[in-house]
C-alpha cells in the first residue's frame, strides 16, 4: 500500500510510464495490485468496511445522521437537544432510577431562581439557605421530626388554644403554651388553662383557687436575729437591716416598692427570754417605698408584766404589694 501516512496515495515504482515504452506484464500486475490494495484499505460508502483506526474529521461535521436506536449509535444535535432542552438548559429531567448529583467539591453548586421539588428531597448533608419558606418535614410527626432546631432569628408560632397549645410536646399535645390574646402568655395542662401572664404583667395561676387568678407574691422578706450579734439568717429583696436600738429595726429593700401602701407582716419572739411565748408585741411603722421599721416588745425574763422594748432572736418581716 502506497499511502504516505497522511492519506496521499502514490503509484508504485516504474510509474508514470514514459511515452513509447512497452508495458510489461510485471509492471501492470505490480501497479494494479498496489491500486487494489489501496482500494481495499479505503472506506466503502455502502458500509462494507469498518474503520480500523480513529476517524479524524479535521473540524468537519458528520451530517444527515439518522435518529439513533442502539446504545452504540451516534446522536444528532436534535436528539441531544431534546434530552437537555437546548443550549445547556432543559425543561424536563426524568430519571427512571437512582440519580446521584455529584457537585464539584472545590466550588459551590448554585440553583438560581426557584426550584420546586414535588416529591421528597433526601439530603445527607446540610441545606444552606438564606431563606427557607414552607413546612419543615411532612405532615406526620415521624417524617417531620428533627432532633435540633436552631434559629438565630425570631421564631413565630400560631396562637394555639388551651386544647391545642402552640408549643407542646410529643404525645401530650393538650399541655403546653398558647397565646389567648395580644401581649398574653398562657399555660395549659390536659387542655385546661392553668396559668397566664396577662397584658399588664400580672401572673395568674390555679393553685387550688378553683380558677386562674392573680397571684400576689411576697416582694421582700427577711428572717433575722435581733439579739447579741444581730445577723440576718436569710432574706429576699432586702439589702440590709438597720439596728436602731433595742427592739427597733429597719428593713431596707434592695428594689423599692412602687409606693408605701404595701402590706407588712411582722412576727417575732425570743425563745431565750420567753417573749413571744408569753406576752409580747410587734408592730410596724414608718412605711416608705424603700424601708419599713418594726418594733418588738416583750416582758423581759424576771421582770414585771410591763411590756418594754426587747430584742427578739427571731424577727420575721414579709412585704406584699
Amino acid at each position: 500500500m502506497s499511502r504516505n501516512g497522511s492519506g496521499v496515495y502514490s503509484l508504485p515504482a516504474s510509474n508514470p510510464v514514459v511515452t513509447g515504452t512497452t508495458i510489461a506484464s510485471t509492471w501492470a500486475n505490480n501497479t494494479l495490485s498496489d491500486i487494489a490494495s489501496a482500494l481495499t484499505g479505503s472506506l466503502a460508502s455502502d458500509g462494507q468496511t469498518s474503520m480500523s483506526g480513529n476517524l479524524n474529521l479535521n473540524s468537519n461535521k458528520i451530517v444527515n445522521l439518522a435518529t439513533p436506536t442502539l446504545s452504540t449509535d451516534a446522536v444528532t444535535k436534535a436528539y441531544a437537544d431534546a434530552l437537555v432542552g437546548g443550549a445547556g438548559s432543559f425543561t424536563t429531567l426524568t430519571s427512571s432510577g437512582a440519580t446521584t448529583f455529584t457537585a464539584n467539591t472545590a466550588s459551590t453548586s448554585t440553583i438560581t431562581g426557584t426550584a420546586v421539588i414535588t416529591g421528597g428531597l433526601g439530603v445527607s448533608g446540610r441545606i444552606n439557605a438564606a431563606n427557607f419558606d414552607g413546612i419543615v418535614g411532612a405532615n406526620t410527626a415521624a417524617a417531620g421530626s428533627f432532633t435540633t432546631l436552631s434559629a438565630t432569628g425570631v421564631t413565630t408560632v400560631q396562637a394555639g388554644t388551651a386544647a391545642l397549645p402552640a408549643i407542646t410536646t410529643t404525645g401530650d399535645t393538650n399541655t403546653g403554651i398558647f397565646f389567648s390574646a395580644a401581649d398574653t402568655i398562657d399555660f395549659t395542662e390536659g387542655g385546661t388553662a392553668v396559668g397566664q401572664f396577662d397584658s399588664s404583667g400580672n401572673f395568674k395561676f390555679n393553685s387550688g383557687y378553683g380558677s386562674v387568678a392573680t397571684a400576689y407574691g411576697c416582694r421582700a422578706w427577711v428572717n433575722f436575729n435581733g439579739t447579741g450579734t444581730v445577723a440576718i439568717r436569710a432574706s429576699g429583696n432586702v439589702s440590709s437591716i438597720t439596728d436602731n436600738g433595742v427592739g427597733n429595726y429597719t428593713a431596707n429593700f434592695t428594689i423599692a416598692m412602687p409606693d408605701a401602701n404595701f402590706c407588712a407582716q411582722v412576727t417575732g419572739g425570743d425563745s431565750t427570754t420567753g417573749a413571744g411565748g408569753q406576752t409580747s408585741s410587734v408592730y410596724s411603722e414608718a412605711y416608705a417605698t424603700g424601708t419599713i421599721r418594726v418594733r418588738t416588745f416583750g416582758v423581759a425574763s424576771g421582770s414585771s408584766t410591763t411590756l418594754s422594748a426587747l430584742d427578739f432572736n427571731f424577727v420575721n418581716i414579709s412585704i406584699f404589694r
Binding site: F224, T227, A231, S235, S239, I241, V246, N252, T254, D311
Partner: protein, 61 residues
C-alpha cells in the same frame, strides 16, 4: 459579709447589717445610710454583743 456600717442618729448610733443581696458594702452604705449622714464601715466583731445598754451606745469619729 461580716462588715457593718455604723452612723450616728439622734438617739445614739444605728448599725446596718448587710444582707447577701449582691451589692457591695459600699453600695449598701450609699443606698441605706440616710443621706448626709457620716458613716463608717467596721468589722462585725467590733460591735459589742452585749446589748444590755444598746440604747446608750454612741457614734464616735
Amino acid at each position: 459579709m461580716n462588715s457593718r456600717i455604723i452612723y450616728p442618729t439622734d438617739d445614739g448610733v444605728a448599725i446596718i447589717i448587710p444582707a447577701d443581696c449582691g451589692l457591695t458594702i459600699e453600695e449598701i452604705a450609699a443606698k441605706d445610710v440616710p443621706q448626709g449622714k457620716p458613716y463608717k464601715i467596721v468589722d462585725g466583731s467590733d460591735i459589742p454583743t452585749d446589748r444590755t445598754f444598746r440604747n446608750a451606745w454612741e457614734y464616735t469619729e
